[in-house]
Every structure is written in C-alpha cells, then in structure tokens.
C-alpha cells in the first residue's frame, strides 16, 4: 500500500503517532490529546496563515528527523512547524518548554485587565484556561496596565481592546470570510490595537464569526452582553434552514429562553465542520436575530468535553472511587481543616446546634 508508507512517525513526549506529511506538530499532538497538546491562543486550524504569534505552543524539538537527528536550537512554535519522519518533540517533559510557556502566560496576562467577574467570555475563555494550567498566582508587574476605550463595531459586536491579546484571528477571519475587511491592527508594539481606524461598523453577513474565534473577551456579542453567565446556560445543538450559512448552531439556553447563538465548537474551542463538510461558520441572522426556541429545530444537548466551567455537573468519564477516606489514609480518620462543632462554646454550650431547626439565630440562644 503506497499510501500507508507516506505517514510520518513523530514522537511527542514519548508517545508516538503516525501522521500525514505536512501536519504541524500541534495537530499531531492534538491527535494524541490530553496534557501533551500544547495550548494555542492564536492558531486556528480553520484560518489560513494563523498561528505563530502568541508563542504559547512553543515546544522543544529534540531530534529533527531520522535523516537529520540534530535538535533544533530554539524552541519552535508547534502550530507552524511541520513534522518530519522520526521527529522527537518534547512538550510537557521539557523544563525549557514549561519555563518559556510560563513566561508567555505572564506576558499575555501582563496588560490583561483580569476583569473576569464582569467579562462575558469568562467560563469559555482560553486565556482563563491557560492561566489556570500554566500561570502563576501573582503578577510581578507593578505598573499601570494599558487601557483602551471600548468601541462598538456595528450594532452587534463590541470591541473591548483592553482584553485583547492580539492573536490576529479576527483579522484573518475578516480576510478569509468576508469580501472586504474594514478592521485591522493599528500601531505597533504594546500599543498596537485592533481597530477600524475611524469608528466604522463591521457590516457583513459573516462578521459575527469574529466573536467565536476571539480567544478572550475582546470581541463580544452585544445581544448577549451581561445577560447571563455562560455556565448558567446550557448548550443545545440546533439547526434551521438558512439560505446564507449551514444553519447548524449551538443555542445557549436557560429554561426555554435562548440567550445566545454560536457556531458549534470542537474540543479545542474551534468551530466544527458542518454536516455539509465545510467549516460551520454561521451568518449574522442566525447568530443575532433568531433568539427564540421556535426559530430552531432542537437536536439535543451538546456534549461538552473540555471547557472548564461550562461542563460543571457534566462529569464525563469520571470514575467514583470505591475507597473511603480512612481506607486511603491507612485507617486514620481524616483531619478536618475546619473544626465543626455541634455546640457553641461562645453562646450557650447547653444548646445543641444540630437540634436547632434551620440556621442558628440569636433568638435561639435567648430561650
């Protein structure tokens, strides 16, 4: 079989996979999945030329290929480096990689406002995930963070540049999905910003997709802003007949109410291919205007596998341990961090707290 011979063997953190030539290290690692996969903030497999900018996916190449087993001197961006046959890659097994990755996370968070409590992206934010996994608890940055004014990009999208990490995904989306791009990156260095130069509205049927590709809360859906937290809403797969797009979406519902419509996403947070085979970008009409359950044919709840808090309560593949705590601790009873009393030593020790109906109240002690 000549086709099978073409596959390249690549070893990532001691796990070997066979991939097509031309696959990037990141995509090879995604075939393995789990912790081995480097995080990616700017790479988006559905967008051409994306990637290479955020540097979170840096990996160490310990051996270039079977033919040329020399290691690469620098860490490489796994999203833009293609595999060679016999390549040996170190991701989480390399100290250098973990160190660099922690550095990149620190850099990304340096000017990020960390306003997660009021950010609509919280709960499905890639930067949140990244900082939970690789970040430190504090910052060493002692200066004012840079801020920008909020901009309305038309009636549906708000740009909150302060949160932006300049992944360029929205620029590529507008380039590759719409006929004419009207927003881009202005200025350079740490004052670079996504902007339309003169406040212009982004006016295109597919421009709403920039919200889906944004890894942080820089581009948010104005029809959803401050309406709900994503973890209170339940994702449901649905579709409708749409003349402009594939019409296959995810509804984010609470009860019968549709709070938000997004494209369907895979386990890497990227928009899935639709049943017609092409990438499932959705049009503005589906996204912003069809906010009632009756507009949609509901298929069933979405399987949420990766994203942190959205999957709360949906424990996938969780095995409940059979052992009790004393079993694990060799017979000793667990030492509780909080000493829970059943009598109050401060008030009236003669009253047993557990006998009180409901929470204790001062009236209970006056009796």
């Amino acid at each position: 079989m000549p086709e099978e011979k073409k596959l390249f063997k690549v070893t990532i953190d001691n796990i070997t996979v066979e991939v097509e030539p031309g696959t990037t290290i990141l995509n090879a690692a995604r075939q393995i999945g789990g912790e081995v996969t480097p995080p990616a903030m700017c790479y988006y497999s559905k967008l051409k030329n994306s990637g290479g900018k955020c540097r979170t996916c840096l990996v160490e190449v310990a051996a270039g290929s079977t033919a040329d087993p020399r290691p690469m001197p620098k860490l490489v961006a796994s999203c833009r480096t293609t595999v060679m046959d016999g390549m040996i890659v170190k991701s989480i097994t390399s100290e250098r990689v973990l160190d660099a990755r922690a550095g990149v996370v620190e850099f990304l968070l340096l000017n990020h406002p960390l306003d997660c409590p009021i950010c609509d992206q919280a709960g499905e934010c890639h930067l949140q995930d990244l900082s939970y996994e690789h970040g430190k608890e504090g910052t060493r940055y002692e200066f004012n963070r840079r801020t920008f004014k909020k901009h309305d990009l038309g009636d549906y999208i708000q740009l909150h540049m302060t949160r932006c990490i300049l992944c360029y995904r929205c620029v590529f989306t507008a380039d590759q999905l719409t006929a004419k791009r009207v927003h881009g990156v202005l200025d350079r260095g740490d004052h670079a910003e996504i902007a339309t130069y003169i406040e212009k509205s982004l006016d295109n049927d597919f421009i709403g997709n920039v919200i889906d590709v944004c890894p942080v809360g820089a581009l948010t859906d104005k029809t959803f802003r401050f309406k709900n937290r994503v973890w209170f809403t339940k994702p449901v797969d649905a579709h409708r007949d749409c003349s402009k797009c594939c019409g296959e979406v995810q509804l984010w519902m609470r009860g019968d109410e549709v709070f938000r419509v997004t494209a369907r996403k895979d386990e890497w947070g990227e928009i899935k291919d639709s049943s017609k085979g092409s990438t499932g970008w959705i049009c503005n009409e589906c996204r912003f205007e069809k906010k009632e359950a009756k507009d949609w044919v509901i298929e069933g709840p979405t399987k949420v596998s990766r994203h942190s808090v959205i999957s709360q309560g949906h424990y996938v593949n969780v095995v409940k341990p059979k052992e009790t705590l004393p079993d694990v601790m060799g017979g000793r009873a667990p030492k509780l961090l909080m000493n829970i009393h059943n009598v109050s030593e401060v008030n009236r020790p003669d009253i047993e707290l557990s006998k009180i109906d409901g929470p204790a109240h001062s009236d209970d002690f006056k009796k």
């Binding site: 955020c54 260095g189 004052h191």
Partner: protein, 450 residues
C-alpha cells in the same frame, strides 16, 4: 593605512555623478561580469571571496545566493536592505549618499548573478534625501545603458526601483521588509518558508545589505580569491565601521579587520582616542543590539588575548565575555556615561519599535523599559535587577524574529557586566539622579575579570 575597497574614491570631487564615477574606473566590474562571466560564475566568485553579510548576522553572502530557489517560469528578485535603523549604525547612509553608483553597480552585478530583472532598494523613511540621490544615479545609469533592456547587448534586462519605507526599525528584518515592500503591515513572517523560496510576492528573493552588495564590485574587480586574502580567517575583505559616542573623530571608517580594537579606538587614523582625554568605560561594538562590553573585556578577551575588529575575535568568549561584530555601529562610552541610562535608552527604543506581533516581545520590551526607567530615576528595587534578567531570558529565543533577541541582549549584557552599577542606583536613589556611578574597575584594561 589599511586597504580601502569601498571608500577608496569617496573623497573624489563629484564622485556622485556618473561621469566622474566612470572616469575613476566605475562600472568596470559590471562590464567584466556581464560580458565575460556566467551568472553562476559570479556567485562562485562571491562564494570564494568569503564575503559575509554586513547587515548584522554575518551569514556568508555567497551561500545565501546559492540557496535561492530557481524554479522555471517564476521571476526572482533581489532586494537591497537599506533600512539601516540600528542605533549607532550609519555606514549604509554614507555609502549611498556619497557613492550611489557603487551600490547601483553592485546591484547590477548581483541581479545578473541571481537572475533578478526587477531589483528593489528598500530605504528607510528617515533617509528622506537619499532616494533622490539614488534615483538620480539610477537615471544616469539607465541613460548610459547600464540598466533597462538588453544591457551591454547581453540580453539581460534589469530595472532598479527605490522604495521608501515608513520609518520602522522592524522593516530591516528581511521578512518584515518584504511584507512592507508588498504594501502590507511590516510584520515579520514566520519562517520557514525562507525568502530564498518564498519572498516578495511569493517569489524566490535574496535580501542583502547595502554594504554587502557594494562589496560585490571589488570582489569582481579583483577576483574572489584575492578578496579573501584581505582580512583574517573567516572575516574577509573590508568592513565599514560607523564609530560614534565619546570619541574625537566620529565617522565611517573602512577597516580590513586585522586591526585591534585598541588601535581602532586610539589611533589617529580611526577614532582618534576618547574625547576630552577621558578614559574608556564601555563600548557597544556592533550596533545597539549587541552586548555591551566593559573596557577590560573589550580590549582583551577573557583569555587575555588582544581583541581584533573582526567577526571571530569580537565574539570570542560567547555572550559571557564577548560581543558581536553586528552591523558595525561602534558606540563608545567614556567614564562619564551611565550604563543604566544607556540601557534604558536602548530599551525605550526597542519598546517603540517592537511590531507587537508576538507576545514576549510586545509585552516584554515595555515591561523592561518601565523597570529600567524606575531604576534609572532612583525608584528601583534590588529585586528589579533579577526580574529584568528573568524577563530578558524569557524573551530571548522565544520570538518570531530577532528583534526580541536584540531587545534582550543589551539588557542582559548590561546586567552581566555592570551589575554593581545597577545595584548602586538602587542603593543611592538620590545620588544616582545627580551624579554618575563612575568607573569602578571597568576602565582598567589590564585587569581582566573572568
């Protein structure tokens, strides 16, 4: 008196004009190359000459040319990188301003060797008056049959276009230059693919520095082997050094890479010694992004050998005790200069010039600048010095293009060699704004700190 190949005729009256340049032996090399040599033979001569890229990295030019992909039916391009923006470097400016025809001739020969029918000079925006000089020279060359269609009846066509940049340091990085030349935002591309395969408009492209291309002229005139005899080891030929700072004779000098650093600084033929009879404290030998060296490590290597002005000797000892030849921007600091302030100035430059594409450089350069500003103005903390070290370590090597490294190296070297000066700034917050740290042991050339 050292050998002069490039600046030999720089002082001739009216050398800017075609007539005088031709009378002084100009375009002889172009005639020789186009009439008697095959394109590959020209590349072969350049390879033999051992000419190394004069833009900063020092990559062998002939090797770079031979990497150029030559697919059938796709045009190839030569781009001359005249976006000389490295602080302290002004050699290309001198060359273009006074000897425009030398560059045009070099471009013509190189275009012939590489098969480029459309050759571009990408010049930095701040050199506002030089494009006019170059365009006039191109016009004269064209009028005399050195450019255009069927040059010298060889059937080779070549046009040279001058493209002005918008004034961005980052556009000196070859892929950012290509993006900018295409009319896009000057962001460096992610390599691979390299420009030799996919450059301007996805066509194979060679990007070379002004001085490198000008040096092709003497190589063809005297032959690659002869050229290789000048200089020492792998540092062949002559190099233009733009010397500035606290010296008596700042300016552009042509050296043949066999003289010692000490001779270069103190000889009357070159820098003419330190200004006002002061003592040498430190020097950045190759443009602002290369590591700064204290006087003792500058004049002698860590092994106690004399340091020479060439690629190998300047980088002897690696970054721990050495530096780099870089682009030849030789910045001399005397005993009155403050290394912390100097480093802060450089950090400010790199922060301003970072393109903002990749996160370590975008965020890290600004962070380093703010910390250095604090230390410089007496608001620093002891922990800031270690923090700076950690930041530069996390930028270096983790960015798309070398700007990240260029921003990290000066900070790293300043802390490595002048840590006590940083500490003094922290310990004496009042004093550091009113007076300088002084010399300590840096200026003593006899004492080498290992």
């Amino acid at each position: 008196m050292g050998v002069k190949l490039l600046l030999e005729k720089a002082q001739v009256e009216g050398i800017r004009s075609y007539e005088v340049y031709r009378r002084e032996g100009g375009y002889r090399a172009a005639e020789k190359a186009l009439k008697t040599m095959a394109p590959d033979a020209v590349t072969e001569e350049v390879k033999k000459s051992g000419l190394r890229g004069r833009g900063g990295a020092g990559f062998p030019a002939g090797m770079k040319w031979s990497f150029l992909a030559k697919p059938e039916g796709i045009p190839r391009h030569l781009v001359c990188n005249a976006d000389e923006s490295e602080p302290g470097t002004f050699k290309d400016r001198y060359l273009m301003e006074f000897l425009p025809h030398l560059l045009i001739e070099g471009l013509l020969i190189s275009s012939y060797a590489l098969g480029s029918n459309a050759t571009y000079i990408y010049i930095r925006g701040e050199y506002a008056w030089i494009p006019d000089i170059l365009e006039q020279a191109i016009g004269e060359a064209k009028a005399n049959g050195w450019l255009g269609k069927n040059i010298l009846g060889t059937g080779f066509d070549c046009e040279i276009y001058v493209q002005r940049g918008g004034g961005a340091y980052i556009c000196g990085e070859e892929t950012a230059l290509i993006e900018s030349l295409e009319g896009k935002r000057g962001n460096p591309r992610i390599k691979p693919p390299f420009p030799a395969v996919k450059g301007v408009w996805d066509r194979p492209t060679v990007v070379n520095n002004v001085e490198t291309l000008a040096a092709v002229v003497p190589i063809i005139n005297m032959g690659g082997d002869e050229y290789a005899k000048i200089g020492v080891g792998r540092s062949t030929g002559t190099k233009l050094i733009s010397a500035c700072g606290n010296i008596n004779k700042p300016g552009v000098f042509e050296i043949d890479m066999t003289i010692s650093v000490e001779e270069f600084i103190y000889s009357d033929e070159y820098c003419g010694g330190i200004k006002n009879g002061k003592r040498l404290k430190a020097c950045i030998p190759g443009g602002s992004s290369v590591p700064i060296l204290p006087a003792n490590l500058l004049l002698k290597t860590a092994k106690g050998e004399t340091r020479y002005m060439n690629y190998e000797s300047l980088s002897d000892g690696g970054f721990a005790t050495g530096s780099m030849m870089g682009s030849g921007g030789f910045i001399v600091l005397d005993e009155d200069q403050c290394v912390v302030k100097n480093t802060y100035t450089l950090a400010r430059f790199y922060r301003h010039e970072s393109c903002g594409q990749c996160s370590p450089c975008r965020e890290g350069t600004g962070w380093m600048e703010k910390i250095l500003k604090n230390i410089d103005s007496g608001k620093g903390k002891m922990s800031d010095i270690d923090l700076l070290w950690d930041i530069q370590r996390k930028i270096e090597g983790n960015t798309i293009c070398p700007l990240g490294d260029a921003a990290a190296w000066p900070v790293a070297a300043a802390i490595r060699h002048f840590r006590d000066e940083f500490e003094w700034h922290v310990k004496n917050p009042q004093e550091c704004v009113t007076r300088n740290y002084g010399l300590a042991h840096y200026a003593d050339p006899l004492e080498v700190v290992g």
